[in-house]
């Protein structure tokens, strides 16, 4: 499974990392929505939606971690009675739905980014792409490999796009964005092996956080930009 249940050995550290990722994604949402409010350019609106979707995904990831953590704690209780079993069952359902919602929101977020940067004006292409995306997202719910592969492909295309953008712009900030997506791509690649050993899961989480922190650097740099 891609979203590996938070291993007990991490004691919720991964949830803290996910929360930090959530904060970075929310900040980017806020900044791009502010620009949209000034310009009313739909690209900025979709960009903010994409990061909002990613931030919501990480909220569900935190819920997944906590429910799993709590479930394991309950299972370690010496006396298991009916009420306890019911609680475990309820946590199981919450865990199941939060995993699904995490996958949906994360894929939708990166799909929106992909659509923004692959400017397709033709309606039939957009309709076909949206249709195929829905099918992929639905498959991703039950087949974690499909989810993982889709995410890997989407981030690969985005990384290539940001590399080309940096070649064109040649600025410090465009390089930062490229590096951050390269880190995200590396994280997702490591995530493929997360079910094999908790070490891969932790490495995946750490590199993912590094990726988002590099992205945060770009937005911190904006503060130093001189006003007109």
């Amino acid at each position: 499974m891609f979203v590996l249940p938070s291993d007990l050995r991490f004691y919720g550290i991964d949830s803290v990392m996910d929360f930090l990722i959530f904060l970075v994604a929310i900040l980017i949402t806020y900044q791009s929505y502010n620009i949209y409010n000034l310009l009313k350019e739909k690209n900025y609106k979709f960009f903010s939606w994409a990061f909002l979707s990613i931030s919501i995904a990480f909220l569900f990831k935190i819920i997944t971690n906590f429910t799993f953590f709590h479930q394991i704690n309950l299972l370690q209780t010496y006396f298991i009675n009916h009420a306890l079993l019911e609680r475990i069952k309820l946590l199981d359902w919450i865990n199941f739905f939060s995993v699904i919602l995490y996958r949906i929101f994360l894929l939708v977020g990166f799909l929106i980014l992909f659509l923004i940067f692959n400017k397709t004006e033709r309606k039939e292409k957009v309709i076909l792409f949206v249709y195929l995306s829905i099918i992929t997202v639905l498959f991703s719910i039950y087949f974690s490999f499909v989810f993982h592969l889709t995410l890997f492909l989407l981030i690969s295309f985005l990384t290539i796009y940001f590399y080309r953008n940096h070649k064109r712009i040649k600025s410090k900030n465009s390089l930062i964005v490229f590096y951050s997506f390269l880190a995200l791509l590396t994280a997702v690649f490591i995530g493929f092996f997360s079910s094999l050993h908790p070490f891969f899961y932790l490495t995946y989480e750490v590199i993912l956080l590094i990726g988002f922190f590099i992205l945060l650097l770009n937005h911190i740099n904006l503060k130093d930009v001189k006003r007109q």
Binding site: I35, L38, L39, I116, R168, I169, N173, V177, N221, Q228
Partner: protein, 90 residues
């Protein structure tokens, strides 16, 4: 070869003209912003729609002026430009 201005840069140029001169006629705006009359009209319509500039009627003549939101855009222009360029959003 002169680099083609991005949409954001054109908007900035129009707003700078409006900021430096209180009320501006369209002919003056065309001259100062270095745009054709066709393309400036679509920019003006968009900027008015987005609240970055206003159209004022004075003795039957149309004038344009910058709004508070337009001034805010100019203040934040460099940040917006860096943000847009870093993601290739422009």
């Amino acid at each position: 070869m002169v680099k083609k201005r991005t949409k954001l840069e054109v908007i900035k140029d129009i707003l700078i003209v409006l900021r430096s001169e209180h009320k501006v006629k369209i002919t003056h705006l065309i001259y100062k912003s270095n745009l054709s009359s066709g393309s400036i009209k679509s920019y003006i319509n968009n900027l008015i729609k987005n609240g970055l500039m206003d159209e004022v009627n004075n003795s039957g003549k149309k004038y344009y002026q910058i709004t508070q939101k337009g001034n805010k855009f100019l203040e934040d222009f460099n940040k917006i430009m860096v943000f847009s360029e870093s993601y290739g959003l422009e």
